[in-house]
Symmetry: C2
Subunit: 157 residues, 2 copies
């Protein structure tokens, strides 16, 4: 089927948080997100790439602005238990998402989204994809422009 991008939107009520240097062993992710869940914190995107050394890894995620400080405090409290290095956070971000069908079987769709943003000098901080949704975290001030150029590039004006 031809890939159909049906919706492009941004969400500026978004902050990104990364816990750095956690042990890459079973149970760590469960511990982190259970502690956040216990505080009633809704986590939106969770993104973890592959460990480079199979010893440590970093886990990035996003929460609303209201939950950023509490999330950071929860993670800082866990640093010793996780043997992790630090927690970094940034509230100057927004999520830009493209929703569609058939996107996985069309390798060019994600490439085109990333290229359109790159051509306008919009840096992509985080990426998460599924068959029906591609989400990028960008600088908050660029979210409106990002949606506009993606609408234009994908013919959704």
């Amino acid at each position: 089927e031809a890939p159909v991008v049906s919706e492009i939107a941004s969400d500026e009520n978004c902050t990104k948080i990364t816990i750095v240097g956690v042990k890459d062993k079973p149970g760590i992710a469960g511990t982190i997100f259970s502690h956040l869940a216990d505080k009633g914190i809704n986590v939106d995107m969770i993104v973890q790439g592959a460990s480079l050394d199979e010893k440590t890894n970093n886990i990035s995620f996003t929460v609303t602005r209201d939950d950023m400080n509490e999330s950071v405090n929860v993670l800082k409290g866990l640093l010793p238990k996780l043997s992790a290095t630090e927690v970094i956070h940034d509230d100057n971000v927004a999520k830009v998402s493209m929703v569609g069908v058939g996107m996985r079987s069309h390798p060019g769709v994600a490439a085109k989204m990333f290229s359109l943003l790159g051509e306008r000098n919009i840096n992509i901080h985080m990426i998460s994809t599924s068959e029906i949704k591609i989400s990028c975290i960008v600088e908050k001030g660029k979210a409106v422009e990002a949606v506009r150029i993606l609408h234009s590039g994908f013919g959704l004006e």
Copy 2:
């Protein structure tokens, strides 16, 4: 709405690839995935966490077994252009996914998935989430057990 996990499945035709130390500047992700798309390579998950230093980043993604070698070669060819360090890859992996509704607004769902896997000593290599799907990359040999314990833990026997 109560979170409803409707489906839990694994995909063993999965290999993970990471390009390490790419420049964290606009256009890099577009370049990488355009080159892969030009070869007709279907990329499944793309996962990029936040850069730690705003200078470099790593990008992980998955492709089928048939596409792993070509993907690695494409990336190796791009290393100079991207000022990247290396390409790492692992074919001893599988994707385990939970599909549901209302998962984003229920912070405990991802935490429970990660904890169930952790309790059985199943290490999580990569994580990618959306409102309706949580995907984890684990060791291939653990995929069947992972699906079984998640079915049991979420009451989907």
